[in-house]
Symmetry: C2
Subunit: 233 residues, 2 copies
DNA sequence: AACAAAAGTGTATTTTTTACACTAAGAATG
DNA sequence: CATTCTTAGTGTAAAAAATACACTTTTGTT
C-alpha cells in the first residue's frame, strides 16, 4: 500500500482490530477458548484471541489469520458478530473491534493446540475468569447470538465430529439453549429435516446400548438453502 | 484528542465510516432514503447517508450524528447492521464501514426534510437507482435483516404514526415480508399479543367504513421484555 | 336511495407441538 | 451365565397453533 498521506480526510483514526469468540463443546458443556495476555494492559488476564486488521485484508480475513496465529486454528466456521466501538474500551488508545464468533470441534483442536506458543485454555460458560477489555460483554453477546441462531440454522454440527450420535447432538442443543429437551420430540424433529444420515457404525466400548452414528450433509444443506429450504428446530 | 503518535502499533490504518439504510413506509411501499453525491467519486450517483467516525464518538453516535447532518433526522430507531470491510469498497482508499439501519416515520420526516441542503429522496425497494460504492449490497443485507426481525420484534411500529389502523399495519407487514397475509388471522395474532390499544378515534374522510386507530405501548413492551416476554408474529 | 369500497368479525380443519413410559442393547458384576 | 446397571431407541394421544374461508357493517359518493 502507498504510504503517501493523500487521505480523503485527515482526522485521527481509530485503530481497527478483530476479536473472536471461539465456541467449542466437550460433550457436556459449551466452552470458550481464551488466551492469557503476556503484556500490559491486562497482563496475565484472559482475553479473546484478536489483533489488528492489516490494510490488505478484510476483517474476516484478519480474524481467520489471527485464529491461526494465536490458536493454531484453520478452516473454522466463522461469522461476524458485532462491532464494538466504545471510545474507552481499550485504555491505550481508541480501538474499534469487529468481533466474530467461531464454532470449532474442540476434540479435533486439542491435537494441534500443542504447536502454539501462547497459553490458551477452554473455559465453560459458567466458569469464565475475569476478562480483559470489554471481552466479557463480547462473549455475552456471542452467547445470545448462538442461542438465537441454533434454532434456525444448523450451526450445531460445526461443534461436533463429522460422525455424531443423536444423544450427543441433543446434549449440545441442551447446553446451548440451557434447557432440557424431550428426547423423542427432539429426534422426531431433527430427523424430519432429512439432513441427517444414519451410518452403519455404532458407538463402541460404552457400558450400555451403543448409539448409532449419524452424519450431516453440509453440501446438500447448502444446495437446499439455495432452493429456498429453511432449517428449523 | 492528543495528536502525539504513541500508537500501540504503527501500521497504516483503514479509515472508519458509517453508512445507514433508512427505511420508511409511505402507506403502500417500503422505501429507502438516499442522498445524491455532490462530488467524486460517484458524483451524482445516489448513496446511503454516511460519513467518517470521529475519535470521541462511537460508531452508533456517528451514525446518528450523520443522520441528522445529512437528512435532518433526530431520535430515530437505529440498529447496527453489519461491518463491510472489503479492501476495495472505496476507490479512494481503504474505508471500513459499520453499517446501520434506521426505521423512521416517513410522513413525519417529509416536514423537516426541507431544512436540509442536500438532495435526498425516497426510493421504493423495487425502484432503486444505481448506487455508489457497495451500497446496493448494504441495502440488500438490510432488507434481509428487516424481514427476519419483523416477525420476532415489533419493529414495524417505528415506521408508522403513533396512531395507526390495523389495515395500515397489515399493509406494512405485507410490504416488508413481500407476501399477502390473511386479514382475520393477522388481526387475531397481533391483538393477542396484548400490546395494541384500541383508541376511540377512527379514520375520517374515507369513502368507506372508517378504520379504528390503535396505539402501541413501547414502554410496556420494554417492561415485558425484561420479564422474559417474547413478541412473535 | 342505491352503490362502491374497504373494515370488521367467527368457526371448522389441518398442522404442529407437547407430554409421556416402556423395551432393547451392551458392558460390568458376582 | 444370570443379574444388574445404564443409556438408546420407539409411538400415540391430547393440546395448541396455524390456516382457510364469506358475509355484514360503515362511510362517502352518485
Amino acid at each position: 500500500m502507498k504510504k503517501e498521506k493523500k487521505y480523503t480526510y485527515d482526522y485521527e483514526r481509530p485503530a481497527l482490530a478483530t476479536d473472536t469468540v471461539i465456541f467449542g463443546f466437550d460433550g457436556a458443556q459449551v466452552k470458550v477458548l481464551l488466551t492469557q495476555r503476556e503484556r500490559e494492559p491486562f497482563k496475565n488476564k484472559w482475553a479473546l484471541p484478536g489483533g489488528f486488521v492489516f490494510m490488505e485484508e478484510t476483517t474476516e480475513q484478519a480474524a481467520k489469520r489471527l485464529l491461526q496465529e494465536k490458536a493454531g486454528l484453520r478452516n473454522v466456521y466463522i461469522e461476524q458478530l458485532y462491532t464494538f466501538s466504545e471510545v474507552d474500551r481499550d485504555p491505550r488508545e481508541r480501538i474499534v473491534a469487529v468481533a466474530y464468533y467461531a464454532l470449532v470441534n474442540a476434540h479435533q483442536y486439542e491435537v494441534s493446540a500443542g504447536r502454539d506458543t501462547l497459553k490458551t485454555e477452554w473455559f465453560g460458560l459458567s466458569e469464565l475468569p475475569k476478562l480483559a477489555f470489554d471481552h466479557a460483554r463480547i462473549i455475552r453477546v456471542a452467547i445470545e447470538r448462538l442461542k438465537g441462531k441454533v434454532s434456525y440454522q444448523p450451526v450445531g454440527f460445526e461443534l461436533l465430529n463429522e460422525k455424531f450420535t443423536l444423544p450427543q447432538l441433543q446434549t449440545l442443543y441442551e447446553a446451548i439453549l440451557e434447557m432440557p429437551i424431550d428426547k423423542r420430540n427432539f429426534r422426531k424433529k431433527i430427523l424430519s429435516t432429512g439432513l441427517l444420515f444414519p451410518l452403519e457404525e455404532k458407538e463402541k466400548n460404552v457400558a450400555h446400548k451403543a448409539a448409532r452414528y449419524y452424519s450431516f450433509d453440509k453440501r446438500m444443506y447448502k444446495e437446499l438453502t439455495k432452493k429456498g429450504f429453511h432449517f428449523e428446530l
